[in-house]
């Protein structure tokens, strides 16, 4: 009896493992494919049919062209500016808001909570938001992609949940020592919430890194485009990468490797940090789901 069951179990185990490996291949192959294409010899790539399991030859021309390209470099610089300045603003405002929402004993607590939560269900929509940004003279400046998304209500609620778990006695002790609310926030709440702060930095950071829609709405000058918008222009709209002075015999032939190299170059930062920070990402998801 016991033997029979364990034999059946082993078969099921093997089936699950096979399904899992198959799934893993599906999840990873597209990126690996791009990686292999980016290193392949363009001429061989054109002739090749079928899947790739190893780069065809080895050629770094695509990377040389992409990494020295002014469009890509400006895109990178713009994205980094948005990321760094955006994060400082995001984190400051989110911490302030989340802290104030944990003060459940103040008179306007319910009103403040409602004030924030309502915006998760109602919004003005695309055009009123667009006109607001234009009205504030932010149009065509990098501020247009930083300020309007300064607080994500969802993130603020996650942080509030985390803050709420800090014992109130610690707050009282600061007050007894003559400290104020700012001291509580910066000396107690933030230092005690480092995992949650990591989650905030990651969520906002990945958001900035990957966003293109607002930039597409508000940024007219190509010199202000973040990386994702440059990428969209070339990968999806089919524009050619402006290679400037570089002499390229046949753009069409290089196009596939160039696009693949661009995909890799934009995704590498996330690829590199992701495995190390995975537990924080998942941690955020957990805090988020505990809000009931």
């Amino acid at each position: 009896m016991v033997n029979a069951r364990s034999k059946g179990d082993r078969i099921v185990d093997i089936i699950i493992i096979i399904v899992m490996i198959f799934l893993g291949v599906i999840m990873l192959y597209p990126m690996l494919y791009e990686l292999m294409v980016s290193f392949s010899e363009p001429a061989e790539l054109i002739r090749h049919r079928g899947l790739l399991i190893w780069p065809l030859g080895f050629d770094t021309t695509a990377y040389q062209l992409v990494l020295s390209n002014h469009q890509i470099l400006t895109g990178y610089a713009n994205t980094l500016f948005i990321l760094v300045v955006g994060l400082v603003i995001n984190i400051t405002l989110t911490c302030l808001g989340a802290y104030c929402l944990t003060r459940v004993h103040i008179y306007w607590h319910r009103l403040m909570t409602m004030f924030v939560l309502i915006t998760m269900y109602f919004s003005g929509g695309l055009i009123p938001m667009y006109l607001t940004v234009r009205g504030l003279q932010m149009y065509n400046t990098l501020w247009s992609v930083i300020i309007p998304t300064a607080i994500s209500t969802y993130n603020m609620i996650i942080l509030r949940s985390y803050f709420s778990s800090i014992p109130e006695s610690l707050v009282e002790s600061v007050f007894i020592d003559g400290g104020g609310h700012m001291t509580v926030l910066f000396k107690i709440f933030i230092p005690l919430s480092l995992p949650a702060m990591a989650v905030m930095v990651l969520y906002y950071g990945v958001g900035h890194w990957n966003s293109w829609f607002n930039a597409n709405l508000y940024l007219q000058d190509r010199s202000k485009w973040p990386l994702q918008l440059v990428l969209r222009n070339i990968l999806i709209e089919g524009s050619n990468l402006d290679l400037g002075g570089a002499v390229v015999a046949d753009y069409e032939m290089l196009a596939k490797s160039l696009k693949a190299a661009m995909v890799i170059v934009t995704t590498v930062p996330i690829l590199v940090i992701y495995p190390f920070l995975q537990k924080y990402f998942v941690g955020g998801m957990m805090i988020g789901s505990l809000k009931e």
Binding site: G8, V12, I16, I17, V19, M20, G24, I26, M27, L28, P30, M31, E34, G50, C100, R103, V104, H105, I106, Y107, R110, T113, F115, V116, T119, Y121, F122, S123, G124, G125, L126, I127, P128, Y130, L131, T132, A150, I151, G180, H181, M182, N210, W212, F213, Q228, L231, R232, L235, I236, K256, V263, T266, T267, Y274, P275, F281, V282, M285, S289, E292
Partner: protein
């Protein structure tokens, strides 16, 4: 959330008239700290909400939002125009169909994945599989759609694979009949791993004694999944399912804008992309706002109903 509401309500009772001023004096610092947050929400959430009035007006840039005149038909002209056009039926149908396929094919995936991950005995392998399946969630929409665009070309990866099975090469993204499949399937690829996290957490919360007791009673693997794991995560499944239904009418525009083109509008154009095209490309601000408002109202009603249903069935709700 519910907890805070309750305590707030009981605290609110029996306050004396001077309480507000006293409270302000005592908690001035908190209100001061909240001020920047209030300014942000007013500027970028509440003020734009007032712009919804545009839906009932004929926007003239020179007159501004408030100065522009109201439309005919008691301000409902844009709504009547929309429902009178062929776009209404097309965008509403596409929105519902895409959501419907997402729910039918996409909703069960993270549940199945979570159960399979839970059945893996090798901890290391499980960890690796989690890392691998969460990964697509972090790839940007532009990169995902860029890869899809390449793969869907008539000499792209998908056609190369199809070639093994004798399929004729076709440019997949220019064929209306393939659009929804591509959209929904790539969506599953992007999110199934990440969405499984919440189910894994629910499974982790199941009492292990239940499994031990079932083993003693001679229950096999599938019986344990059916009688312990699934009932254990039923609450989570129900609430997420209801919420998915509540989002039926809101298909985001970002990914569709990146993937569709005029030749696939027939199956790909949803309300949000129509709002984008009308508003920003044709600069028909009022009409676009009207269509968006119609969509928001429907969304809100759906979310509200879903929430009420969820409260009734599972005693958990979002608000």
């Amino acid at each position: 959330m519910a907890k805070n509401k309750k305590s707030g309500a009981t605290k609110g009772k029996g306050r004396k008239p001077g309480a507000i001023r006293l409270d302000f004096q005592k908690n001035k610092a908190v209100y001061f700290m909240f001020l920047p947050v209030v300014i942000f929400y007013i500027t970028f959430h509440y003020y734009p909400m007032s712009g919804i009035i545009l839906a009932f007006k004929d926007f003239k840039p020179a007159l501004g939002i408030w100065g522009s005149p109201f439309t005919g038909d008691f301000g409902f002209e844009h709504f009547i125009d929309f429902f009178g056009s062929s776009h209404a039926a097309r965008t509403i149908t596409n929105t519902i169909l895409i959501s419907f396929y997402q729910i039918i094919f996409g909703f069960p995936m993270p549940i199945i994945l979570a159960i399979m991950l839970n059945e893996l005995h090798n901890r290391k392998f499980k960890k690796v599989m989690q890392t691998v399946t969460y990964f697509p969630h972090f790839i940007s929409t532009v990169v995902v759609c860029g890869m899809l665009t390449e793969f869907c070309l008539s000499d792209g990866l998908f056609n190369q694979i199809g070639g093994f099975f004798g399929a004729e090469p076709v440019s997949l993204l220019s064929q209306p009949k393939y659009f929804r499949t591509i959209y929904v399937a790539s969506g599953i690829w992007q999110s199934m791993g990440w969405d499984s996290i919440i189910y894994l957490a629910a499974i982790a919360g199941i009492d292990t004694q239940l499994y031990e007791a079932a083993s003693l009673d001679g229950a096999g693997r599938f019986r344990k999944i059916w009688h312990i794991t699934l009932p254990g995560i039923k609450g989570t499944i129900v609430i997420l399912f209801i919420m998915a239904i509540g989002k039926m009418m809101s298909v985001g525009s970002e990914k569709i804008l990146l993937l569709y083109n005029p030749s696939t509008y027939q199956t790909a154009d949803v309300i949000s992309t129509y709002v984008y095209r009308k508003g920003l490309l044709d600069q028909d601000y009022s009409y676009s706002t009207a269509v968006n408002l119609f969509n928001s109202v429907i969304n809100f009603v759906l979310v509200f109903l879903a929430n009420a249903l969820s409260r009734k069935l599972t005693e958990t709700s979002l608000f």
